[in-house]
Amino acid sequence: MSKTTNQKAWILVIPVIVLVAFNALIPLMTVVNYSVQETFGSNVFFWEGIKWFEEVLNSSRFHESFLRQIFFTGTILAIEIPLGIAVALSMPKKGPWVSVCLVLMALPLLIPWNVVGAMWNIFALPDIGLLGRMINGIGIDYNFTQQPVAAWMTTIAMDVWHWTSLVVLLAYAGLCSIPDAYYQAAKIDGASAWAVFWHIQLPKMKRVLTIAILLRFMDSFMIYTEPFVLTGGGPGNTTTFLSIDLVKIALGQFDLGPAAAMSLIYFFIVLLVCWIFYTLMMRDEAE
């Protein structure tokens, strides 16, 4: 659609800017402030320059939690996106079951995040949890509070449980917007089911899938509450993702300087990835 140039449109945007800026800019400035200073409490600050940034970037602790984060995000994207597409493809297109499916599938999305963590904790506990019992029952020694691998698997299973439905909903919406004529034409052209997926369904879902990947990337990169409640970042540091580490440093040890520097580095990484996505998406749309 062609848009007209109208500088007065700013008036319509002002309320949003004021509210968001209040929440974003002031705290961001506080963080920037901390990130370049040293404090020993009682509001005495010393200028430290980029010392904290160097320290964080060189610390093996940051490297480790960053790698864990990348690995976690990569894994859940690799599971949730294909699984979400597959479920959406096999969902009924119309009829009473559509509502039933949508309501049941959306349920995990609306459960408070700490409840999700607590729920999975109870579900996976080796002594009283259904999942823990079942896995131990088939002869596998499983205890996510003590085994790093089990902790990882449980965290990933929880995230898949929690968020795959978002991908399903988005992909399903994309599928619903494909007119019947495309499927009919494909039949007449003699296309195989794979060709229908590859040449019709996937291209038509591209837009919603980009959004799904973007949302899942952002949210999984910020993940805090669920794994914190489930595993507390442990055993050891094995499931300490960026946000958990950050809160540990800032509130646990009250090292505000390094925490702030880490916050900024962390924020910039998310920003950078999203900016790349956003630009690619906009370029694609312009085409």
């Binding site: 309320p15 963080v31 559509v98 409840v115 607590a118 259904l130 910020m222």
Partner: protein, 266 residues
């Protein structure tokens, strides 16, 4: 073939329901039964845990607090996002693209980064431990999302609608409220759904910004683990109750969501 088609969604939904079932199962057990052994269903069925929650103000106030700030946030987010989304979808203006991206970046800001500065900011403006504080803080990520969703819906409405209305002598506010808002009702439904969802499920900021008066249910729950010992049954009951508002909301907007998803951006 038909069987194969049904298999995946059925298995998937079963997978989704199992942990929820387990939570419900636990909520109807006594603490002794939970710790005493493993059973697939409550053998000594009890409503004790629910009775505690409904009679103890520190518990049920948590729900009321949560619902208050979630409702406030949903209303604030969507009502300020509406005009902004209209501006983005209809007009080109200085810095519009950058502004749009800047808004989206706030959706990307990890709440953990902002937890402490938020505490200081809202203490400084003397809003700490009020519903408004949480409602405003959640605007950080809900407004950008609402603008994004609504902009998508509005771009799908032909511009001729606006032009015809203005030719017919409608003033801008009258046109916006009488004609435009009803046209994109499905979009508003979807935006409200997402605002509700993210505000309802968020814990970190809500917990940071409250202590007593506006304490959300999610934060009340973390208390059971520490002060009152490990009361799993109570925790499970409280958790089960947090599912209900979400289930209600999904049930009422389910048609909007399917329709809204199909026509809009999200």
């Amino acid at each position: 073939m038909n069987f194969k088609k049904w298999l995946l969604p059925t298995v998937y939904i079963l997978f989704l329901m199992l942990p929820i079932y387990w939570l419900l199962n636990m909520s109807f057990k006594t603490t002794n039964e939970i710790l005493g052994g493993f059973s697939l269903y409550p053998e000594n069925f009890t409503l004790e845990n629910y009775i505690v929650i409904f009679t103890d103000p520190t518990w049920y106030n948590g729900y009321i607090n949560s619902l208050i700030y979630v409702a406030m946030n949903t209303v604030i987010s969507v009502s300020v996002a509406l005009p902004a989304a209209y501006a983005f979808s209809r007009y080109r203006f200085l810095g519009d693209k950058h502004l749009f991206f800047w808004l989206l970046t706030n959706r990307m800001a990890p709440p953990a980064v902002f937890a402490l500065p938020f505490f200081q900011l809202y203490s400084a403006v003397e809003l700490f431990d009020t519903h408004l504080a949480v409602a405003l803080a959640h605007c950080l990520f809900n407004i950008p999302l609402a603008v994004w969703i609504l902009e998508g819906f509005m771009s799908g409405v032909p511009k001729e609608l606006d032009e015809t209305a203005f030719l017919d002598g409608y003033s801008f506010p009258r046109f916006f409220i009488r004609i435009f808002i009803p046209t994109i009702a499905a979009g508003i439904g979807v935006a409200m759904f997402f605002a509700f969802m993210y505000s309802w499920v968020e814990l970190l900021l809500a917990k940071t910004l409250t202590s007593v008066a506006a304490k959300p249910i999610a934060a009340t729950m973390t208390r059971t683990a520490s002060t009152a010992g490990y009361q799993l049954g109570l925790l499970a009951a409280a958790g089960s109750l947090t599912i209900i508002p979400g289930a209600f909301v999904i049930y009422f907007v389910r048609n909007y969501i399917a329709k809204g998803f199909a026509m809009g951006r999200v």
